[in-house]
C-alpha cells in the first residue's frame, strides 16, 4: 500500500522545488495566454510580461512609452502613425521582430475576433475587413460543404479535389502599410484617437510569432483552412516550449493550476533593465489560503485580496496593505425599457423615478459598513481623478426631499401605487449585503419596497445582458486609459448597454467627442463630461461607490505601481533579498 502511495506521489508530480527570484499570487486561474482571447486581468498581467506591443508600459506610470518601435512619428492631422521597429527587437528564439509579425497578429485578430477586437476598428478599413472576411469565409464554407455533401461517396471524395471557390479573401485593411524592409509600419486611423498609443500597448495589438505557431498547425487545421479559409490555430500554441514571445520574459513552464514560471528573455532589447531572472506565479484557489501563504513569507506579492480580508487588515493597520483607487465603479443598473420582462408596464421607464431612487441613497453607509475599504461614494459614473484633465460633472445630488417630490410627480406620492419590483444580484462577494442596505433605504426614504433575488453568476449575467430584470447590481472596469472606455457602454448601439437606455443627445455628444478635431485635447474631454452629466440626469444607472483596490507586499518589493489599472511591467519588479 505504501509502495502504491509512493508511486502515486511520483506520478502526481510532488517534490518539485522552485527558486524563483520573485513569486506572486495572481488574481485567479489563467483563462488563456492567447492575446486574441485575453480578457481577464490575470491573463493580461502575464501578457505584458511575455509580449511587447509597438508601445510598452512605463513601469511607474503605466503610460505608453516606445516599446517594440523605438521611433514613432505622428502626422500633423494626428491620423497616421509611423512606427520604426527597433533594430535590436528580438523574439525569445533570437529571430528579429518584423512588421510581418504585427500584420499577422492583427489580421488573425480580425479573422478570428476576440473580446477586444473592436479596439482595432480605429484603423482605417479594419472593421470592413473583418466583415468582408467573415462573409468570404462563410461563402467558402458553404461551397465546401456543398461539395462535401455531393462527394459523400468515399471513393469519389478521394478522387475529386474540393473546388477552389470563386470568392477571394479581402485585401488587408488599407490603414495598415509596411515598408519593403519590414522595418516600418504605417497605421492610418479613421479619425484622430487621443489614446491610440494605449491601444497599441494593449494585448490585442501584440505581435505574434507565426513560425512558432505553425509548428502546431496540423492536418486537422489544414483541413479547416481548406474549408473555411481561416487559419485556426490550436490554442495550445501558448504552452511551453511552443510559445515564442518578444517581451522581457518568456514562458518557461506552465503546469495546469500548479505553477507558471517566467524566465528572462535573453534576447530582449532592454534585458539590462530586467531585474528578476525568474518569476513564478503561485496558484491559489482560496483567498484565505493565499493570504496565509503570503503571510508565511513564501510569496512576495499578493495581487488580489477579497474585500473582507482587506477590510480586516486595514482595521489592524497592516503596513504592507496597499490600498489605492480602482479603475471601476459599482452601481445599480436600471431597466429603462417600457415593459418589464413579465410584460407589465415598467415604472422605471420614467426618468423621474430612476432619479428619485438615485438621489435617495446614503451611499456612505454602504462603504462604511459593508465594503470598508475607504471607497469614495459615487455621484458620477466615471471615477474622478483617474483620467488626466477630465472634468467630472457634478453628477447626482443626494437630496431625499427632492427625490420624494420627483416620485410624487411621477405618480407615486410616498411610494403609493408603486409595484413591488426586484433587485437582482449575484450571490458572490458582498452584493447581497449591499442590496439589503439599499432596499432598506429606499423603503425608509421613499416608501418603495423591493424584493431581493440572489442568483449565481452565469445566470446573473444572462439576465443582465438580456435585460430580464428591473434593477440589477452592476460594475464596470475600464480597459484602456480614456474616458470613452466608460462612456461607450451607454451608447444606444452598445452591446454592453444593459439598461436599454437610449438618448440621442448622449449618442451625439459621444460621436462629437470621437471625431473631435480640436487641437486642444480638453475640448474633447469637456464634451464627454457633458455626456456624462446627461447620463446622471437620466439615471439609467445608480452609482454607489468607486472601487478601491488592494495589494499586499512588503517594503523589500520594488517596482509595483499602485495604479488603478492594476497592471505591472514585470521587468522592473523585484524583491530585495536580505
Amino acid at each position: 500500500m505504501l509502495i502504491l502511495l509512493g508511486g502515486a506521489m511520483y506520478w502526481s508530480g510532488t517534490g518539485r522545488t522552485s527558486h524563483a527570484d520573485f513569486t506572486f499570487i495572481n488574481r485567479g486561474d489563467i483563462g488563456t495566454l492567447d492575446p486574441n482571447r485575453m480578457s481577464w486581468m490575470q491573463d493580461i498581467r502575464i501578457g505584458y510580461a511575455l509580449w511587447e506591443g509597438l508601445y510598452g508600459l512605463d513601469p511607474q506610470t503605466l503610460e505608453p512609452v516606445p516599446g517594440a518601435a523605438d521611433k514613432i512619428e505622428l502626422s500633423p492631422d494626428r491620423k497616421t502613425y509611423t512606427f520604426h521597429l527597433r533594430d535590436d527587437g528580438r523574439w525569445s528564439d533570437g529571430s528579429p521582430v518584423t512588421s510581418d509579425d504585427f500584420i499577422f497578429a492583427w489580421t488573425r485578430m480580425l479573422q478570428e475576433p476576440g473580446d477586444y477586437t473592436y479596439l482595432l476598428y480605429y484603423i482605417e478599413g479594419a472593421e470592413e475587413y473583418q466583415k468582408a472576411f467573415a462573409a468570404y469565409s462563410d461563402k467558402r464554407t458553404a461551397a465546401y460543404d456543398a461539395w462535401d455533401a455531393a462527394a459523400n461517396d468515399a471513393r469519389r471524395q478521394h478522387l475529386t479535389e474540393p473546388p477552389e471557390p470563386d470568392v477571394q479573401p479581402p485585401a488587408i485593411p488599407g490603414g495598415i502599410k509596411a515598408s519593403e524592409d519590414k522595418h516600418t509600419l504605417r497605421l492610418t486611423l479613421k479619425h484622430p484617437v487621443a489614446y491610440f498609443p494605449d491601444v497599441c500597448a494593449f494585448p490585442c495589438m501584440f505581435p505574434l510569432n507565426q513560425q512558432s505557431m505553425d509548428k502546431s498547425f496540423d492536418d486537422e487545421a489544414r483541413k479547416a483552412l481548406r474549408r473555411t479559409g481561416r487559419r485556426t490555430y490550436d490554442a495550445r500554441f501558448t504552452r511551453p516550449p511552443n510559445l515564442v514571445t518578444n517581451g522581457p520574459y518568456f514562458l518557461s513552464s506552465w503546469e495546469f493550476k500548479k505553477s507558471l514560471v517566467l524566465k528572462k528573455n535573453p534576447f530582449y532589447w532592454d534585458r539590462a533593465h530586467v531585474h528578476s531572472e525568474t518569476i513564478e506565479q503561485v496558484d491559489a484557489d482560496d483567498p484565505q489560503w493565499a493570504f496565509l501563504v503570503y503571510d508565511s513569507g513564501s510569496v512576495d506579492w499578493l495581487a488580489d485580496i477579497t474585500g473582507e480580508i482587506a477590510a480586516e487588515l486595514k482595521a489592524k493597520g497592516r503596513p504592507d496593505l496597499r490600498v489605492f483607487p480602482g479603475f471601476g465603479t459599482y452601481f445599480y443598473s436600471v431597466n429603462c425599457l417600457p415593459k418589464l420582462p413579465d410584460g407589465k408596464p415598467n415604472p422605471l421607464a420614467d426618468a423621474r423615478v430612476r432619479l428619485a431612487l438615485a438621489m435617495s441613497l446614503d451611499k456612505k453607509k454602504v462603504v462604511d459598513t459593508i465594503t470598508r475599504m475607504d471607497e469614495k461614494p459615487a455621484d458620477t459614473y466615471v471615477p474622478p481623478g483617474i483620467f488626466k484633465d477630465y472634468p467630472s460633472p457634478p453628477g447626482i445630488r443626494d437630496d431625499v426631499a427632492a427625490a420624494q417630490k420627483l416620485l410624487a410627480d411621477a405618480g407615486y406620492p410616498g411610494g403609493q401605487g408603486f409595484p413591488k419590483l426586484t433587485i437582482l444580484f449575484n450571490k458572490e462577494s458582498q452584493h447581497g449585503d449591499i442590496a439589503q442596505v439599499v432596499r432598506r433605504q429606499w423603503q425608509q426614504n421613499l416608501g418603495v419596497d423591493f424584493d431581493l433575488e440572489g442568483v449565481e453568476i452565469k445566470l446573473f449575467r444572462t439576465k443582465l445582458h438580456s435585460k430580464s430584470y428591473a434593477i440589477a447590481r452592476a460594475s464596470w472596469f475600464g480597459d484602456y486609459n480614456d474616458v470613452s472606455t466608460f462612456t461607450d457602454k451607454y451608447l444606444s448601439t452598445s452591446e454592453n448597454n444593459d439598461s436599454g437606455w437610449v438618448n440621442k443627445q448622449y449618442d451625439d455628444l459621444l460621436h462629437d467627442a470621437e471625431y473631435d478635431t480640436d487641437p486642444d485635447p480638453t475640448h474633447r474631454l469637456k464634451t464627454l463630461s457633458k455626456a456624462e452629466q446627461i447620463l446622471c440626469d437620466e439615471a439609467p444607472i445608480i452609482p454607489i461607490y468607486f472601487y478601491n483596490s488592494a495589494y499586499l507586499f512588503r517594503d523589500n518589493v520594488k517596482g509595483i505601481p499602485l495604479n488603478p489599472r492594476m497592471m505591472v511591467n514585470f521587468k522592473s519588479v523585484y524583491a530585495e533579498k536580505h
Binding site: 500500500m1 505504501l2 502504491l4 502511495l5 502515486a8 506521489m9 506520478w11 502526481s12 508530480g13 510532488t14 517534490g15 518539485r16 522545488t17 486561474d29 489563467i30 483563462g31 488563456t32 495566454l33 492567447d34 482571447r37 480578457s39 481577464w40 478570428e112 475576433p113 476576440g114 473580446d115 477586437t117 473583418q130 467573415a134 485556426t232 490554442a235 495550445r236 501558448t238 504552452r239 503546469e255 495546469f256 493550476k257 500548479k258 496558484d283 491559489a284 484557489d285 482560496d286 489560503w289 493565499a290 496565509l292 501563504v293 503571510d295 453568476i457 452565469k458 445566470l459 449575467r461 444572462t462 439576465k463 443582465l464 445582458h465 452592476a474 464596470w476 472596469f477 452591446e495 454592453n496
Partner: protein
C-alpha cells in the same frame, strides 16, 4: 463468479452512457455561456466563431462530435473555459493529485479507524471506547470545511508544524490528508467497533482462546478478518469519493486536484469538463463497487455474489 464479473462489465458502458446523456442535458439547459468571461458581452461574431470551433452551437452538434471522440480516442475534447488545455490534460494533471491525496487519506483512515474501532470494542465501556466515540462524533459531525480551516490555521499558520498545503513537497500532503481522512476514519472506527463486538461474542472466538492462542492474536487475526466485512463495503464508495478529490479540502489547502473541477466546471458552464469529471467519477464508483463485491467473496467465501 466469472459470469458475474463479465455481466457487470457488460453493464458498465450502458450505465456510463446513461450518465453521460443525463449529465450533458442537465449542463446544457443551465443558463449562461461558457465563453463569456466578464461583465462585457462578447461580440456575436466572436461568440459564433468560438462556438463553432468548440462544436457547441447546438446540443445536437455537441452530441454529434464529443461522444464519438470519446469512444474512438478516449478524448473528452477541449475545455471550454481553459482554452489551452484539453479535458484530458486537466484530468491527467489533477487526477493523480487527488488519487495520491485520497490514497494517503484512506491509508490513515483505514489503519487509524480499524485500530481505534478494535480497541474500543475490546475495552468496551473504558476510556478508549469513550475516546473513540468522541472522535467519531467529531469526525462525522464537524463539516470538513470547518475541520480543514482549523487544521490549516492551527497547525499550519500558527504552530507552523506542517506546510500550508499546495502541491510541492510530500509534506504538503499532511494537513489536507488528515482533513480528508477524518470522516472515513470516524465511520470505519464505528463500523469496526460494532462488528467487532458482534464477532467477539462468537463461539469460535472462545474456542480459539480455549486452544491457547493469545488474546491479541485472536483479536487481530481471527476476529478482525470477520469484523472487517462491513468496513469493506464502506471502503468501496468511500474510496471512490476520496480518490476523486474533495472540493472543500482541495480548496482550503489549494491542492490542484480534481475535486475543485466538480464545482468550478459547473460554475463556468464548461460542459466538456463537467462531462469529463462526472464520467471519471462514475467509472471510479462503478469499478470500486465491483472490486468490493469481489472482495466480499474473497474475504468471506460464504457470500455468493452471483445471487
Amino acid at each position: 463468479m466469472v459470469r458475474f464479473i463479465v455481466w457487470r462489465l457488460v453493464q458498465f458502458p450502458l450505465v456510463l452512457a446513461v450518465i453521460y446523456l443525463i449529465t450533458f442535458f442537465l449542463a446544457w439547459v443551465a443558463p449562461g455561456s461558457p465563453f463569456e468571461r466578464n461583465d462585457r458581452a462578447l461580440d456575436p461574431v466572436a461568440l459564433h466563431r468560438i462556438e463553432e470551433r468548440m462544436h457547441a452551437q447546438h446540443w445536437y452538434k455537441f452530441l454529434a462530435y464529443y461522444p464519438r471522440q470519446l469512444l474512438l480516442h478516449l478524448d473528452f475534447g477541449d475545455s471550454l473555459s481553459y482554452e489551452e488545455w484539453t479535458v484530458n490534460d486537466i484530468l491527467k494533471s489533477a487526477l493523480p493529485v487527488s488519487i495520491t491525496l485520497g490514497l494517503f487519506a484512506m491509508v490513515i483512515a483505514t489503519f487509524a479507524g480499524v485500530g481505534i474501532g478494535t480497541l474500543a470494542a475490546v475495552r468496551r465501556g473504558g476510556p478508549v471506547d469513550w475516546f473513540s466515540l468522541g472522535l467519531s462524533l467529531l469526525g462525522i459531525s464537524i463539516p470538513s470545511f470547518v475541520m480543514a480551516a482549523v487544521l490549516l490555521i492551527v497547525f499550519g499558520a500558527k504552530l507552523k508544524w506542517f506546510p500550508l498545503g499546495g502541491w510541492r513537497t510530500p509534506w504538503d500532503m499532511v494537513l489536507p490528508g488528515i482533513a480528508l481522512s477524518l470522516l472515513p476514519m470516524a465511520y470505519i472506527a464505528r463500523l469496526t467497533r460494532v462488528s467487532m463486538l458482534d464477532v467477539l461474542g462468537n463461539d469460535y472466538v472462545r474456542t480459539a482462546r480455549a486452544k491457547g492462542l493469545s488474546r491479541s492474536k485472536v483479536i487481530w487475526k481471527h476476529c478482525l478478518r470477520n469484523a472487517f466485512l462491513p468496513v469493506l463495503s464502506f471502503l468501496g464508495p468511500a474510496s471512490a469519493a476520496t480518490l476523486t478529490g474533495s472540493f472543500v479540502v482541495e480548496k482550503v489547502f489549494s491542492v490542484p486536484g480534481l475535486g475543485q473541477h466538480f464545482v468550478n466546471s459547473v460554475i463556468n458552464r464548461d460542459q466538456t469538463l463537467i462531462l469529463g469529471t462526472v464520467m471519471v467519477y462514475s467509472a471510479f464508483v462503478l469499478a470500486l463497487n465491483l472490486v468490493v463485491d469481489i472482495g466480499y467473496a474473497v474475504v468471506d467465501p460464504r457470500i455468493d455474489v452471483t445471487k
